[in-house]
Symmetry: none
Subunit: 200 residues, 4 copies
DNA sequence: AATGAATGAGTATTCATTCAT
DNA sequence: TATGAATGAATACTCATTCAT
């Protein structure tokens, strides 16, 4: 049975509340009482389910990163060729709807949080390494399959990831000014160009 | 220009102390007392020069962004052709030494701070618009001068800025894992490729 | 006598757990949850058997003092002459093994507790009066039987009790520094001397 | 100049307030806010002068023990012969006025506190060792001077200390029931008897 | 009988800010 | 100017107690 216990439900509610507060008001405003309020429960409850604030942070970061990675892999599974997969990746990162705004805001908070919370730093680094590896593997596949020219897979993966994360971040800072669709398209084009085989 | 008043000197010292504390320990640790301590003065003094903490933040953000922009423009003034200028921009952003690590850390704190402090948000947006415009102007020059192919200058400026800011950020999050020099070179190459005129 | 009910058994388990926690970690650490954990039951159960924490304290203090008194009387029953009985008392108090360390620690906690919990204060006073009376009776017997010289029985009982309780306490505070066996022997000697008939 | 700074005055006030609260209501009631209230200042002030509660405890324990020792030594300086000095010690310990009741209550709290606060444990042990040594020295002087019979000075010091501390403690627990003057006199007599030279 | 979810009062500590000297 | 004493709001965390299941 997939029935969740009350404890599991509550924990998820709390994590989601934490995530919501962080993305809407920033981590500095994410007090235990505010999280509890948003989760619709008493602040004492939070300490019933999580030993301390750090534990909530860890659980939330874990929750988000797992979801992030899972969604990415799920999307990739629908694409075959290396070029298709790269194109999907770019469009996925650049598909910046309201949900992603919330998500990205919280993500940025985690960057900063990683300076003081080692567990966040570790999770973030692992997550990026993971994504980098996924990117690099696709690039290697593309090179081996003759779709891409011979580039350094790891470095190129990093360059692509940087472009995408940078796009997201600029958009978060100033959604109005950033022509998100055009930027996405052009980033896709730039990356495709860079990877494409060139005439001798 | 006249001599700086003592008050101005003190203000600058305080701003620099603020910046130092933020970059080293994060904004959450940047208490009035800590800033005063680093600035070598009494915490009561801070309120003599700045009405409240928010005023310090505003001044510091303003100070940093002005310096950032000035340094960028100064560097650009030594380069003539559009291609050279773009190349300089990329190398300038990717010249990630110890100073830049500190700088970038503080910069990331400002991103996050912009969620709660409107003044920071405004300053950050203005700063990015400014840089985007500088980039776009160079691109337009390059197009007009026949160095670059005809791309949308604004969008491309954004794409380039995103690549560069993304690189910096990934490096800050995990300096060890990010092959910073290789990434810089390849980013430069990718952007140059993208802007270069193509054979018909 | 009939069998003990389950409720009585549970109550005793809880009391013993309370006593154990107090002697090992101190009263300040004796939370309801900790007591329940040591007693091997749910903390909600404690409130099923005891109305509140105060009730547990009262019951525990009562339990301990009853046991203390019973053991003392049992030991005394094996001795006949007043001098023997006094000697037994001293050795009993000074037989400071590991169990007594635990016991004495908890006892000291009760002293302190008696300041805030009237019931503990009353129990402690009753207990000491009881012991004082036992001592005084023996002394009176000794005087009447010609074993001891004519001293004020009540005052002397108090002096002896003070010596013994003081010894215990010093030993609890600094077990390493207190030469417990020698101290016990010498205390015994001092008291015996004091009570002994003197040559005219 | 013996002028005390405001900081020193405040610190002393706080320590005295702490001591007062502990002796009147027990350590468990000695909250930062209560101490501040008794000291007549804001609770934030306490953290201005003492880093944390532990620091207050340490300072208070140190303060009390230093005063205790100083008063003891001062009193001893007015007495010459070993027998006189011992007599003074006993009378000093047994001079149980209102001040001593407060003092002794707090002292008992420290015993219990020493289980959880290492610094208190250390201070208490050092204090007792100190007093024991003072006692032992007097006894040794008495033996050498031919006033006392040859006893083990250390052990006897411990026995005497135990008698005195035990008397105090019983009096604290039940001031009404303990005939304090008579007990003191008899304790003095018992100890004098024990130390006195005996006829061969 | 037994569990653990839920509540709310209480505790140490931090920190921006004010103000007397 | 400059110092640091003083204030009070805010914050994470603890714990006895209640109550639904």
């Amino acid at each position: 049975m997939g029935r969740k216990s009350i404890a599991e439900i509550r924990k998820e509610e709390i994590i989601e509340a934490f995530f919501k507060v962080v993305s809407e008001k920033g981590f500095s405003k994410a007090t235990i009482r505010e999280i509890a309020h948003v989760a619709g429960c008493n602040h004492g409850m939070l300490h019933h389910y999580f030993a301390n604030k750090e534990a909530i942070i860890e659980a939330a970061v874990d929750y988000v990163m797992t979801a992030y990675r899972a969604e990415l892999l799920e999307g990739l599974s629908h694409h075959e060729s290396a070029a298709d997969r790269i194109r999907f990746l770019v469009s996925w990162f650049c598909d910046l709807d309201r949900f992603n705004l919330e998500f990205s805001r919280a993500w940025m908070e985690f960057w900063v949080l990683s300076k003081t919370e080692t567990s966040v730093a570790v999770a973030l680094q692992e997550c990026y390494r993971d994504i980098r590896n996924i990117f690099a593997e696709i690039i290697r596949d593309g090179i081996n399959g003759g779709e891409f020219r011979k580039v350094d897979a790891t470095v190129t993966a990093n360059v692509i990831l940087a472009s995408l994360e940078g796009s997201t971040m600029l958009w978060v800072v100033d959604p109005e000014e950033t022509p998100v669709e055009a930027t996405g398209k052009q980033t896709e084009e730039m990356i495709a160009d860079f990877l494409a085989k060139r005439e001798a």
